[in-house]
């Protein structure tokens, strides 16, 4: 199991609860955008492969 990043916790504890929640929401949104972009890229790649196979 991974090691806990104590420095990251220290950094989080310096923020207000509101800042922590806003930070999480922004990060989660970025992760979702990356996931969606990756999924789109994969779909385009599969379509290209299928077209070549035809």
């Amino acid at each position: 199991m991974g090691v806990v990043d104590k420095g990251l916790i220290k950094m989080m504890l310096k923020m207000t609860p509101e800042e922590r929640l806003d930070y999480n929401v922004k990060t989660a949104k970025t992760v979702l955008e990356l996931r969606n972009a990756l999924r789109k890229t994969k779909t385009i790649r599969v379509r290209k492969v299928n077209r070549k196979a035809e």
Binding site: M1, K6, I9, M12, P17, R20, L21, V25, A28
Partner: protein, 173 residues
């Protein structure tokens, strides 16, 4: 059928809606951990609700107004099963403001009436939230057998330890 994109959580909007509707709830789960300083990433809002007839009616009205439907691995949009609100079950929902899980009870079968004694009040964009305290979150996660909870538990424990050390040193959380 392509999978539907997950709608990102609009936390501020959901909290505003819950508070303005006068709904009694406790924030639990990952978001409660984040609010208290744990660097975990979470994508949805988990709340435990109070089960009075009035509160349940307020939740139903809110869920209808924010176009809630059951979150499922396929694309079928099923209406929420409102009967779940009266028991200890979980409603996993998607809404126009992102995902929200409404939980009748969490680990050890604990519901709103038991958990309300272990909360911190947190201000979020002008709204007061009741957040399950980190000590209780840690105690409950220790009971969990889910691998993701076990992994997250170490982060929660370290956060609690650092807060305790800071408190002992007279520093603010």
């Amino acid at each position: 059928m392509p999978l539907e994109k997950q709608r990102p959580l609009e936390l501020e909007k959901l909290i505003e809606k819950l508070n303005k509707a006068g709904i009694k709830y406790i924030l639990v789960g990952g978001m409660a951990a984040v609010a208290q300083g744990s660097p975990v990433l979470t994508f949805d809002l988990d709340i435990v609700h109070e089960k009075s007839v009035t509160n349940i009616q307020k939740i139903k009205d809110l869920l209808i107004s924010i176009k809630a439907y059951q979150r499922r691995p396929d694309n079928f949009k099923l209406k929420p099963d409102f009967d779940v609100l009266q028991g200890t079950g979980h409603m996993l929902l998607s809404t126009q403001y992102g995902p929200i899980d409404i939980l009748g009870a969490i680990e050890k079968g604990l519901g709103y009436d038991e958990l309300i004694h272990n909360i911190n009040k947190i201000e979020f964009h002008g709204f007061e939230m009741h957040v399950l305290d980190l000590k209780t979150l840690v105690e409950l996660k220790r009971e969990s057998k889910r691998p993701e909870d076990k992994q997250r538990l170490k982060i929660l424990e370290e956060t609690l330890e650092q807060i305790t050390e800071d408190d002992a040193a007279g520093l603010k959380m």
